[in-house]
């Protein structure tokens, strides 16, 4: 392995990159824009659910229950009372309401006589997560109402439940959506970037220069990779700074450890890109292929939306076959839990193995001749 050869590939890429005015900007703009959009936008905090109430009872008890829902500005966005349950259904069908409460006549009367009394809760199920969370909100509000009434009339509940959220005391979803984006972006953007590096030469024909030159396969691939890693590390700093400065996510762990882990992670994603690039013959396939692999796995099988531990057996296994799961675990451990090296060491080793495997395969599959 000769350092000079690697350097010349590196400089060649830099020159091409520098001369391309648009790419020079968009390569850094893309991760930034993804970060901004998802950071501000991907609201997994479920709030402002538009709701309306049909109160057919109009007694103190039913009004009290209504107030309980109306004063809960955090979760529900109270739109008004409706005269009939039909109106609620219509609102949900038209997409204007997502939640409705119907209090039937004789609600209070039944309670006073000592019978259970039913209220109807209507939920729009087209976003299942939001539906199940708003159902939980509603049940806990109704529970609160019941407990308050019971404590007045009969006696107190003999049970007290204290809930504490570790690592994220206020259960701020945004902290997690933002810091979780770092490994996802670092699996998508470096892979796309690296996946175009070899195939673009194939498509243009300049690969013949490489075939006929004295450079070895490893030197060629390393030169390309070092370049991709340089660009991606800049992107890492951009999105890391955005998440702690703009989104104010507290970073509790050791920064240098995180830097080191991200470096290894970027090595793995760029090697994956190079591997894709060795296989395909056109850039559009390389681009779609890298998007395909990384978007689904990054968002769905990494633990970003659903914890990997509660996935079905197949999905659990599948999640372990790609780096994003390990990257996300490290990111969460360092950002939120201030974990030490001992906890994350297995994950680091796993990513390192991915890197070696991807790079080894890339060397194996890159041919210095027509295939």
């Amino acid at each position: 392995m000769r350092f000079r050869q690697i350097k010349s590939i590196y400089i060649r890429e830099w020159k091409e990159f520098y001369r391309d005015k648009i790419s020079r900007v968009v390569v850094f703009a893309m991760p930034t824009i993804i970060m901004l959009i998802f950071g501000y936008g991907l609201a997994l905090d479920i709030e402002n659910v538009p709701m309306a109430i049909v109160n057919q009872d109009k007694t103190p008890a039913s009004r009290e229950l209504c107030y309980k829902f109306m004063e809960n500005r955090e979760y529900f966005d109270f739109k008004g009372f409706l005269p009939k349950a039909k109106g609620l259904e219509h609102g949900i069908l038209a997409g204007k309401l997502r939640f409705g409460l119907v209090i039937p006549p004789k609600f209070e009367q039944r309670l006073k006589r000592g019978f259970p009394s039913e209220v109807q809760v209507l939920i729009d199920g087209s976003f299942p997560t939001r539906a199940s969370v708003s159902k939980t909100y509603a049940l806990s509000i109704i529970n609160g109402f019941n407990l308050e009434r019971l404590s007045k009339t009969i006696k107190k509940l003999p049970l007290e439940i204290e809930t504490r959220y570790w690592f994220n005391e206020n259960l701020k979803q945004r902290n997690i959506t933002v810091c979780g984006l770092i490994p996802i972006i670092l699996s998508i953007s470096p892979t796309i970037f690296a996946s175009l590096l070899i195939v673009k030469e194939k498509e243009r024909g300049s690969i013949y220069n490489i075939w006929t030159s004295a450079i070895t396969k490893i030197e060629f691939l390393l030169g390309k990779q070092v370049f991709a890693v340089t660009i991606s590390m800049v992107n890492f700093f951009i999105i890391f700074l955005l998440s702690i400065l703009l989104f104010q996510v507290p970073f509790k762990g050791n920064f240098f450890l995180f830097l080191f882990c991200s470096f290894i992670y970027i090595l793995a994603s760029t090697a994956q890109g190079l591997l894709i690039s060795c296989f395909v013959n056109t850039q559009v396939v390389a681009l779609l292929g890298s998007l395909l692999i990384n978007i689904i796995i990054g968002f769905l099988y990494s633990g970003y939306l659903v914890p990997v531990s509660s996935m079905s057996k197949d999905a659990y296994f599948f999640a372990h076959l790609f780096p994003p799961y390990y990257g996300l675990s490290i990111t969460k451990a360092l950002f939120l839990k201030a974990a030490g090296l001992k906890i994350i060491l297995p994950h680091i080793l796993a990513i390192l193995i991915f890197y070696l495997a991807y790079f080894g395969l890339a060397i194996h599959f890159f041919k210095k001749r027509e295939t």
Binding site: I33, E203, V306, M311
Partner: protein
């Protein structure tokens, strides 16, 4: 005739790129399957440990109330430090702590249960604590008195997706995402490829009108995507994910046709602006993400920040997605959906004309 041979050329160019054909087929079938099957956004098998310092009948009974399919009991912890470890290593969603004398307090005064939740999984953490508290409170209420108490009871009715099955949602939203991605990237890549290979010169000197050139590309790409949509609806969405297709398939197809046709013109616009594939890849991601996001396919519009909400009306995808969800899940007809049709057609035509203008300057 000239136009027909251009159509043929575009089609052949697509078919001969074997890798691309395989990828597109994969996108419309397996990819949607993976997204729909693997992920369940509701609380399922949430693992928990119990730190029980009482070890009485009552304490065991209350823990046994947390059952599958929502919860999964992993075992008892013996000391304090282990709580820290299991939560740090993500081995559990939460730990239930029961104090000394739990059963005694439960009979006499107030017993305290502590729920320690792994806050690094915010959404599931919330659901975990919500479900568990619910279950514990009901248990305590039942224990209080034998007869039924005068309680307000909620009877829930969930519209369109009664079991809150996230397969439907994930399957449909993945189909839409895949579609939008291809709608942007395929035409853009087809155009840039001509530029990179130098073919574009040949087309420029040929007696073709820019509009014909654009129409041929758009028609072929739109055709491919529509075939993909039909494939995935009949191979994956209906038979495997069991999404109930309530509305009319033809109406859905009409919306898809208008959407794909007009938006793929915008893909050409990206192609016309870019000089190489690197630019296409980055630019299409930059355009793709906001379009997808503003459409409300991932998060509903009411969950967005106030200043962002008016902007959603600028995303043609919004009208399309609203309409598709309504047709597929709600079975709504055209009488509800004509504003969407209008909005989609209008925004689409604007994009189409804009692209035509840009391409004319290229020629």
């Amino acid at each position: 005739m000239r136009f027909l041979s251009l159509l043929k050329k575009e089609f052949l160019q697509f078919i001969r790129n074997k890798g691309l054909v395989i990828l597109v087929i994969y996108f419309f079938t397996l990819d949607i399957y993976l997204a729909g099957v693997g992920i369940d956004l509701s609380l399922k098998n949430a693992k928990f440990f119990v730190y029980d310092r009482d070890m009485s009948v009552a304490s065991r009974e209350i823990v046994s109330q947390l059952v599958s399919p929502w919860f999964l009991f992993e075992g008892y912890l013996q000391d304090d430090d282990l709580i820290d470890t299991v939560l740090l290593k993500d081995q559990a969603m939460g730990v239930v702590c029961l104090p000394h004398n739990f059963s005694k307090h439960l009979k006499k005064y107030r017993a305290k249960i502590q729920l320690l939740i792994n806050g690094s999984e915010a959404l599931m953490g919330y659901l975990f604590s919500g479900y568990a508290s619910q279950i514990f409170i009901n248990y305590a209420l039942e224990g209080m008195q034998k007869q039924r108490l005068p309680l307000a009871e909620a009877k829930t009715r969930v519209f369109f997706n009664p079991n809150m099955n996230s397969r439907y949602f994930m399957g449909i939203s993945e189909l839409l995402t895949v579609m939008v991605m291809l709608v942007f990237i395929l035409p853009a890549a087809a155009l840039v490829r001509e530029k990179e290979l130098g073919n574009i010169e040949m087309l420029l000197i040929s007696p073709l009108r820019p509009f014909q050139f654009m129409l041929a590309k758009v028609m072929v790409m739109a055709g491919i995507i529509i075939i993909g949509v039909i494939l995935s609806v009949f191979l994956i969405i209906k038979p495997i994910l069991h999404v109930p297709f309530c509305g009319s398939f033809l109406l859905f197809l009409l919306f898809t046709l208008i959407f794909v046709f007009t938006t793929s013109a915008f893909g050409l616009f990206i192609g016309a602006v870019s000089k190489n594939m690197l630019q296409v890849s980055q630019l299409s991601a930059i355009v793709l993400m906001p379009t997808l996001f503003l459409s409300g396919s991932w998060t509903p519009i009411e969950a967005m920040p106030d200043w962002l909400r008016p902007l959603t009306y600028l995303s043609p995808l919004k009208y399309y997605i609203d309409a598709s969800y309504s047709i597929i899940l709600k079975g709504v007809g055209l009488s509800y959906l004509w504003p969407n049709l209008l909005g989609l057609t209008f925004l689409g035509s604007v994009l189409f004309i804009l692209t035509g203008y840009k391409l004319r300057r290229l020629f």
